[in-house]
């Protein structure tokens, strides 16, 4: 494995645009100093065939596969160290607590949060956003107040706010996008009103790959004293995220998209907000003192972690971020950008293919349609060739409606994908076209 130092420069480099038809030369993996062969060795699941063909896993935006470091960590903890946390005086409880809190510190370092108590463990991005909606939102919003999102959001950054609006009488505003899948900044700014109480935007779109200019958005919102939540489910696995540099108020991410386990995720919140917010759920661990008259809540982050947490998966998420940092998020971002550029250029060579989402700033997602061939049929035929992609609306139906398609096929790349796999994908797409004549 390469040890590439982690830079704090937060933004991904990368115009993903290519000249149509111009075949970009296939970069050799080793010219980037990135050894993808070594990385692949770390992922046991990749060593298999599907329908007699080597597995080509290109559904990383849905979920990522797990390195041995994560799988071994889960086994090791259950075999050696497991007990409940923050409770016992016995040795195993102490070990589990140390590992659990160690994972929190690993995530803190990964996101460059100022304090480890600004890292709240949740089930995933969805729960993180619901937590902010129900805790921050319900205690802050009044009838006529507004929440601003964008037209490229995943359902999990739409529905929690719609529920909050029903509960409070607040209104949900949606900043529009253009046909490239880029946010219209003027419209976004125009929609920041004196009644806007929160902005919640995707850092990177799961359906289109668009990377939003979140620093600009945060500056615009902060100049009006509006806090900003970033949905980092897609961005966190693919680029350096520095929450202090971004100055976001909340950042939500999912462990399973970050090469960690399912069922664990993170809400980062600035201390000042988390301190002021009421608890999300009541129960054990989130209290300091309980009587039948009154309950005194625990300190951060435990105030937001009612009940026995997902201890082992949190520890394994720590192992996942350690794994990623050892490779280096900037090295991963650079490599994946090369994959995207190569895939984009090769896709543009196929006349029947239309790319959906052509923003200048894009993460490694290639969403596309083929003339007169439904994405589901593409997905089934590619599966027969061992290629796993997603076909559907990607939990972003409003995005599909905007582009006037019922669904797209989506190839999404991760740190273990190769240029050869992109060749296999493109050959597969040509076969789909051939089969459908």
């Amino acid at each position: 494995m390469n040890n590439v130092s982690v830079s704090q420069a937060a933004m991904p480099q990368n115009p993903a645009q290519s000249v149509p038809g111009a075949r970009s030369p296939k970069p050799r993996s080793n010219t980037t100093g990135y050894n993808v062969a070594n990385v692949r060795e770390d992922f046991p699941i990749l060593r298999q065939t599907v329908h007699g063909k080597p597995l080509v896993y290109l559904d990383n935006a849905a979920t990522t596969q797990k390195p041995k470091a994560v799988i071994d960590c889960i086994r090791r903890v259950y075999e050696n160290d497991f007990s409940n946390v923050h409770r016992g005086v016995h040795t195993l409880s102490q070990r589990s607590t140390d590992l659990f809190e160690g994972a929190r510190e690993a995530v803190q370092k990964f996101l460059n949060a100022r304090h480890s108590h600004e890292i709240v463990f949740v089930r995933g991005t969805t729960e993180a956003i619901n937590l902010v909606a129900q805790s921050f939102g319900r205690s802050t919003l009044k009838e006529g107040d507004e929440i601003l999102i964008t037209a490229m959001e995943h359902h999990s950054n739409i529905v929690p706010w719609q529920m909050l609006c029903e509960q409070t009488g607040a209104k949900l505003k949606v900043a529009p996008i253009d046909l490239k899948g880029e946010l219209l900044l003027d419209e976004f700014e125009r929609l920041l009103s004196p009644r806007t109480r929160l902005v919640s935007v995707s850092h990177m779109s799961n359906a289109l790959g668009t990377i939003n200019p979140v620093k600009d958005l945060i500056e615009l919102a902060h100049s009006r004293e509006i806090p900003v939540l970033l949905d980092g489910a897609q961005a966190a696995p693919h680029m350096v995220v520095d929450v202090q540099d971004l100055d976001c108020d909340f950042y939500a991410l999912s462990g399973h998209k970050l090469y960690g386990p399912t069922g664990i995720g993170v809400l980062y919140g600035k201390e000042k907000w988390l301190e002021a917010m009421p608890p999300y759920q009541g129960g054990g661990d989130m209290i300091r003192r309980v009587t039948f008259d009154k309950t005194e809540y625990n300190v951060l982050p435990f105030k937001f972690e009612a009940g026995t947490p997902n201890i082992v998966d949190a520890i394994a998420l720590g192992a996942a971020v350690d794994y990623l940092e050892a490779i280096g998020m900037d090295a991963i971002a650079h490599y994946e950008n090369q994959l995207l550029q190569y895939a984009t250029a090769r896709a543009l060579d196929i006349p029947q293919l239309a790319i959906v989402g052509t923003a200048a700033q894009k993460g490694a997602i290639l969403s596309f349609t083929l003339e007169r061939i439904h994405p589901h049929d593409i997905g089934t035929i590619l599966d027969h060739l061992g290629i796993a992609i997603r076909a559907g609306h990607h939990c972003a139906m409003p995005v599909m409606d905007f582009f006037g398609v019922p669904a797209t096929a989506r190839a999404s790349f991760g740190l273990y994908n190769t240029f050869e796999e992109i060749d296999i994908l493109m050959d597969g797409i040509r076969k789909v076209i051939e089969v459908f004549g």
């Binding site: 439904h374 589901h376 049929d377 089934t380 027969h384 609306h393 669904a407 089969v435 459908f436 004549g437």
Partner: protein, 151 residues
Amino acid sequence: MLDQIRDLYQEVVFDHNRNPRNFRVMEDANRKIEGFNPLCGDRITLYVKVNGGVIEDVSFQGSGCAISTASASLMTEIVKGQTEDEAHHLFDIFHRITTGKNNEAVNLEDIGKLAVLAGVRAYPARVKCATLAWHSLQAALKNEADTISTE
């Protein structure tokens, strides 16, 4: 290489996908229903003209994958002229064959032309594509209002 997939995508399926039959709006339909598969976003609008328990005419519009389009197209051809009971019975057998559930007593001959869709059995994720039109027809036949939506 893609031989196996030909079980799912038979020529008849391609044919009906390319040239769906009865793919039109029916102005004088007395049943109309929107069928929607929220998992994949497939949508179908089904128009039915029922008279005295007989399906006199049936047509559809919408966008879906090859399997759902071919299934809808085949269905409109087959049920036209059938009684409601005959259509219900056919769907029951078709459903059992495609889902592989309670299908001991049924065989492919019982569904005639629909047998070309039996390959969907091997693709659990695609069974709903093959049955969307049929579920919509069932709903349309059950309801007597002019416009019905499953949503």
